[in-house]
Structures are given as C-alpha cells and as structure tokens.
C-alpha cells in the first residue's frame, strides 16, 4: 500500500519536475544578475571617487524632489484605478493644465505688488487656482468622456482616455500657442540651505514639503471622512455600496476631482521647479507617474507615494550610480530606460508592486 502513495515514476512526472523549476530558475537568474550588475556598477561608481559625497547627497535631494511631483500625479492614476479598474490616460494632461494655469496666475501676479509684498500668499493663490482648474477639468472629463461609458467593456473608456488626452493637448495648443511658457522667478525660492549635510534648493524643499502635506491630507481624507469611506466602499464593491446607500456616481466624480486637484498642485510645483511649461509637458510626466503608480502597487494610495519617490530616486541616481559604473557612455541619455527597467525588475520581484495591490482578488 505504501508504494501507491509514491509519486509515479516515468516520463510525465519527469517532465513536470523539469518544467516548473526551469521558469523559476530563469527568474532567479534574472534576479541574481540584476542585483549583481547593480552592486558592481554602484561599487565601481563609488570607488572611482568621480562624485564627492556632497554631490551624491545632491542627487538624492534631486531625486526626492522629482519623485514628489511624480507621486502627486500618481495619486490620480491610482485612485481612479482603485475605484473603476480603469487607467485614466488623460491624467497627464490634467497635470499639464494645472501647470499652464500656474503659469498664467504667477505671470499675472508677478506684475502686481502682492508678488513682492506677500510671496507666500501669492503662491497659495496660485496653488488654489491650479488645484481648482485641474479638478474642474478632471470632473468635466469624467462627466463627458467616462460616465456615459461606464459598464462598457474596459477597452472602450481606455481608448476614450487616449482621445481625451489628445483633445486636451491640442485644445491647449490652439488656445495658448505651441510656444514654451516661462514661469517668473520667485525670489523667496532661490538659494539653498543645508539640513543634516544635505544641501537643498529652497524650491525643492517647497516641493517636498507641499507634496508630503497634500498626501497626508489625502490619506486622512480617504481613511477618516465619510466621503473617504464611501470611496473605499465603492472601490471594494460598487453594487454593495449602492445597496448601502452610497451615491456611486457622486463618489466616483469626487475621486476624479480629488485626483485632478492633486495633479494641479503637482503642475504648479513642476512649473516652479522647471520654470517651463508647454502643451506637451504633461505627456512624459504622466507616463512616469503611471509607472510610479504601478511600481508602488496600483490602487494603493501610500503605494503611489512610495512608487513616485522610488522612481524619482532611480532616475536621478541610476545613471550616475550604476550605468557610469558599468562603463556605459553618455549614461544620462538612458534615464528613461533605467526608469522602465526598474519597473520591470520590481514586477519580477514583486508582481503586485512594492506595497502590493489593495484590491479584492476577483476584481483586480
């Protein structure tokens, strides 16, 4: 009797035993190779003493600042995905419209006495304008382009989103021209100061602090308020939420509005850091923020923050730390390659992203 419990010996069993480990083995080889390349590149880069400790710390700060902007945009992707299981590809354009609004408001304010007298107030005015305009655009987008298609197969709103993205880009181009718009200088944001040996540009400090504050507010909003609870309920199951008396349409609109406001704030911060915006400015940051959302675990709000910061750091440090160490010439040209390669690697190690996907299995 004992013999019958043994696994059958023979070709079929051999094949099964052979097939499973080979995929696993290849994945492990990829993982080991990736870590080895990373370590070799990094150790050679640091050992070459090409950059001083101060410069490495600068790169960390640049990465955090860039990552904060990505995180703010990524929130919009991840919240919409969490509720609707749909990727709003026009979100990068909502961000660009925020940055454009920021240009018009700061440019207008810079000609008034307020700009010199109370720059903080002026920036707050600009921030509220950007957040409002972007939120309105996102709400309009939801109402006009997505709500009529709710319940349609997933591919259809997705294609609409791409169409909406082009529509918004070229509307901006035809309204305000294709030229590059330059933000005015903000005196209180020029200069640097040093914290714990990290030299931080003032404008970067503003970006980091503002992004952290906004994300903290959003987290509290989603976790502690009735509206937030409704969002989580709709995300869990819209049908049951409706039965429980949640207004699903309004909740979804609210998600778009909040995501749009975050993107608008990100747009103003982007404009203050890079001082330039034009009608295609939203495309690449949009794609990067989407990458950040997937990296952190799409549908997961803290995940968007972690993903954004990780992506910013990888873009800023990656070429200098790893690629130059591996002897690749003109490494900074490959910044985007590094960013997307990181996405692939993270998904190989953790298929649900860094913090994992917080959605129910059967809907994910």
């Amino acid at each position: 009797m004992a013999r019958t419990n043994l696994p059958p010996r023979g070709r079929a069993a051999g094949r099964r035993a052979f097939r499973l480990p080979i995929v696993g083995a290849v994945l492990w080889l990829v993982r080991i190779a990736a870590i080895a390349l990373l370590l070799i590149g990094a150790s050679r880069s640091i050992a070459s003493m090409r950059l001083s400790g101060q410069q490495w710390r600068d790169l960390v700060v640049f990465g955090i600042a860039q990552g904060s902007v990505y995180a703010l945009i990524a929130l919009g992707y991840t919240m919409v995905y969490g509720v609707l299981r749909f990727i709003n590809f026009a979100h990068g354009e909502v961000f660009m419209i925020g940055a454009m609004t920021g240009y018009f408001v700061t440019d207008g304010l810079s000609r008034t006495a307020l700009w010199e007298a109370a720059p903080v107030l002026a920036l707050l005015i600009a921030l509220s304008c950007c957040m409002t305009v972007s939120a309105v655009v996102a709400l309009g987008l939801e109402r006009v382009a997505y709500r009529p298609l709710r319940g349609a197969p997933r591919l259809i709103p997705f294609i609409t989103a791409i169409g909406a993205s082009f529509f918004l880009q070229y509307t901006m181009a035809s309204l305000f021209g294709t030229s590059v718009k330059a933000y005015p200088e903000v005196d209180i944001l020029t200069g640097t100061f040093t914290v714990l040996g990290f030299r931080i540009l003032r404008v970067h400090l503003l970006v980091i602090v503002a992004a952290l504050l906004l994300m903290a507010c959003l987290y509290l909003y989603v976790e502690k308020t009735r509206a937030g609870r409704a969002m989580r309920a709709v995300s869990e199951d819209p049908e049951i939420a409706r039965l429980m008396g949640v207004d699903v349409d309004r909740t979804i609109a609210r998600v778009f509005g909040v995501g749009g406001a975050m993107a608008g704030a990100g747009g103003l911060l982007f404009g203050l850091v890079f001082q330039n915006v034009f009608f295609l400015s939203g495309f690449l940051p949009g794609i990067k923020a989407f990458t950040a959302a997937v990296l952190g675990g799409i549908g997961n709000i803290p995940g968007a923050a972690v993903g954004g910061l990780t992506l910013g750091m990888v873009e800023s440090m990656g070429p200098s730390l790893v690629l130059v160490g591996l002897g690749i010439p003109a490494a900074h040209q490959l910044k985007d390659v590094v960013a997307f390669l990181t996405l692939v690697l993270v998904l190989i190690f953790r298929p649900t992203g860094i913090l994992g996907e917080r959605v129910r299995e059967d809907r994910g």
């Binding site: 790169l59 860039q66 030229s179 890079f274 440090m317 130059v324 040209q333 910044k335």
Partner: protein, 421 residues
C-alpha cells in the same frame, strides 16, 4: 506541357528579335539621345521641368524649411520661371525634421519620374532615409541646411556612414563648425577642459563629437561627453556629473526646450553659474531662447550671414516678396543650391526640337565637378562626397541689451574659415 514548350520557344524567338531590333537602329540614328546608367528625364514640348523640395514646413522647425522654400521661389523668379524654354515647377514635401517625414516625402517624390532634382532636406535626421530612397532611383539631392558629417565625409577622405550616390550640400559640414567652436573655446576663452552634451539627434551628436575631436587635437581635454534624451526636464543629475568633471566650457549644440532647462538649472551649480562657460550652436539662435536671462553672456556658433551686394539684392527681393527679412540662417545656401542645379541642367541637357533630355548620371557628375562657383555664400567647389560649401562660421555672444536674434547674430566675436582643403 508541349504547348508550354512552344510558348517558351516563341517567347525566346520574340525576345531575340526585340534585342536585335533594339541594337540595330543604334548605328543608323547616331544623333539620338541615349540615357546613361541611371536613366534620364525626358521633358516634352511645353511640359514643366520639375524640382522637388523636401523641407521642414510644419512644427517647431517650420521656420528652417519655410525660409529655404522661399529662397527657391526667388531663384525660380530670377530665372523668369523658365529653364530651356520649359516652365519650372516645384513640388514641396514636408520632412517634419524627422526620419519618418524624410522617408514619406522621398517616397512621394521618387514615385514621380519627372522629378529632376530634390532640394532638401532641412534636417540631417530626415536626410538619412531620404537620401537612401532617392539615391536608389538615381535622383539628385542637394541640401542647403544638412550639416551632419555622416551624410558626406569627415573631410579627411573617410566616407560618412549615411553617404549615398547623388547627394550634395551647400551648407557647411559640422566638422568645420566643431573646429570653429573648439578653436574659439581653446584659443579665445582659454579653456583647457570642455564637456559636451548632445541629445541623440544625428545633428547634435555629430556636432558634439566634431567639437570634441577638434578640442582634443588643439591640446584640450574633454572632461565629459554625455547626452540627455529629448523630453527630459530634470537636468540637475546630468549637470551634477558635468560640474564634477570641472569643465572650463560646456558645449551643448541641442534644441529648445531641453536647452532652456539646462541654462536655467545650471545657475544652481557654482561651477557652471558663469554663463560665459555655456556654449550653444545654431539650433539655439532663436528669439525665444536668447530672452532667457540665464543666456546672457552665452556663446553660440553658427553659419556666418553672407555679405556683399548680391546678397543684399537677394534680401531686398525676399523682403518685397514675403514682407519680412529672412527668418533663418540657410536661405542663401538653398538659393545657391537651386542655381547650381539650374546651371548644371543647362549644361547637360540635350535638346531635340523642343524636347529636353536630362541624363541623371551626367547631372550628378556635373554637380560634383562644380568648381569655383560664385554664389551668395561664397566660392563653392564640390568634393567627391558632396560637400560644396564655402564654410564660414561665426561665434557670437549674447550680451546685455540684445533682445533680438539679429542683434545677437551681429555681435560676432570670431569668424572661422577653414584652411584650404
């Protein structure tokens, strides 16, 4: 089977007869025109002589192409619209300043057997595929604004990777512009270490590399040769690397908006804060770039504006016809290119009672043989790889008080002319 065999034999006999018939009359009609290996264009009585244009006429670089299209129109007007008694017709295609645009435009023109020659492209990136398509059809192509060394040669006898038969240009080779910028940086600015940044485009990469090799030949050191990619906004990481290599000058022959980000963000680096260290090229000589406050003090290299009464007369015609001064730097080069083509056509064309035959091979050979042609841009002579320019490169500086591109172009610090080739 049997019928097939008969058919085959019949065909063979027919073919032989045809060959015989084709060979026989040759001796009888010795005066008849016979096309060369690349074929010929036959223009019937009253039919137009067609010239193709592949220029960037839309998008960010539209001014580059539009300027040259206008120059070609002036050249046609100068001829009275007629060549050898046939009207001159031009067909304009957009190269979009991209490889894809160059491919589409060239395929369109190559499909028309009546196109005698093509003036274009505007951008080196578009020239690579366009040249390949047109060269395969034996169509002559001559550009007034391509400058990448890969399109012709390195000026030392090594053929460029993209070079094809039937390509010529009246614009300078960027080897010369690289030499000019390197000479200025090394001798006038006293720079010993230089960093270069390009964006992967054939034009920017070619020019950055040409600068690098000239700078090294002069005795300088390239502290870092790096690149960014188009669409980048955060230049601080790459500028950290550039600053760490302690250059005396940073040469970045790229375009807007990436260059805007570089100059604005360079201000935050003590080593790069001195704008005199920043050095751009002709792609950045635009009204929207020089008004950025951080470009004050920056140097630029670019083709010299031609001088002389002939050029002034041309500018006069341009202003009357189009209501503004020339909008870019390469109109005179294209004007010279068209006129060289017209001169060559007049020379090689064979006329038979109103019908004109133009042999493609002879036309190309005639242009390559151009020597001491007096054009607006100087005295042009073509080499075997197609470089015809009489290159003069100006180094200009943007200083306080200059607000228009013409003022900056006029502020010439140094003019470079290569030693005789």
């Amino acid at each position: 089977m049997r019928t097939r065999k008969y058919q085959f034999t019949a065909c063979l006999i027919g073919a032989l007869a045809l060959v015989g018939a084709a060979c026989a009359p040759e001796e009888e009609e010795a005066g008849e025109f016979t096309p060369g290996p690349l074929g010929a264009i036959t223009v019937e009585t009253g039919a137009p002589i067609k010239i193709g244009l592949i220029q960037a006429i839309s998008g960010d670089t539209a001014s580059l192409g539009t300027d040259q299209v206008r120059a070609v129109q002036i050249a046609i007007d100068d001829k009275g619209g007629n060549l050898l008694g046939h009207p001159i017709r031009n067909q304009v295609e957009d190269d979009l300043c991209k490889a894809e645009g160059g491919t589409t435009a060239a395929q369109k023109l190559a499909a028309d057997p009546q196109i005698v020659a093509v003036i274009g492209t505007s951008c080196s990136g578009a020239a690579v595929p366009a040249m390949e398509i047109l060269s395969a059809k034996g169509v002559l192509m001559i550009s007034g604004s391509n400058t990448s060394p890969t399109l012709t040669s390195d000026l030392r006898g090594t053929k460029g990777a993209a070079n094809q038969k039937g390509y010529l240009r009246t614009a300078h080779n960027d080897i010369i512009q690289g030499q000019a910028a390197a000479t200025f940086a090394f001798q006038r600015l006293g720079a010993k270490r230089a960093a270069t940044i390009h964006d992967g485009d054939p034009y920017t990469e070619g020019l950055a590399n040409a600068f690098g090799s000239s700078f090294k030949e002069l005795g300088g050191t390239i502290s870092l040769a790096t690149a960014i990619s188009k669409g980048d906004t955060d230049m601080r990481p790459v500028l950290t690397e550039v600053a760490a290599s302690t250059p005396d000058v940073v040469f970045f022959p790229i375009f807007q908006p990436e260059a805007d980000f570089i100059v604005r963000q360079a201000k935050g680096f003590p080593l790069l804060a001195d704008t005199k260290k920043l050095f751009g090229a002709d792609g950045l000589l635009s009204d929207t770039f020089i008004v950025i406050s951080q470009t004050e003090g920056m140097h630029f290299s670019g083709p010299a504006t031609p001088t002389g009464p002939a050029y002034e007369e041309f500018v006069g015609k341009y202003e009357t016809k189009f209501g503004e001064k020339p909008i870019q730097a390469f109109h005179a080069h294209s004007y010279d290119a068209v006129n060289m083509i017209f001169a060559a056509i007049e020379k090689v064309a064979v006329e038979e009672d109103g019908t004109v035959h133009i042999d493609r091979q002879k036309l190309i050979d005639e242009l390559h043989a151009t020597k001491d042609y007096q054009g607006l841009t100087g005295t042009l002579s073509c080499d075997e790889f197609g470089d015809c320019a009489d290159p003069k490169i100006d180094i200009v500086q943007n200083t306080a008080g200059q607000r228009t591109i013409d003022q900056v172009r006029g502020n010439v610090l140094f003019t470079f002319e290569p030693p005789e080739r």
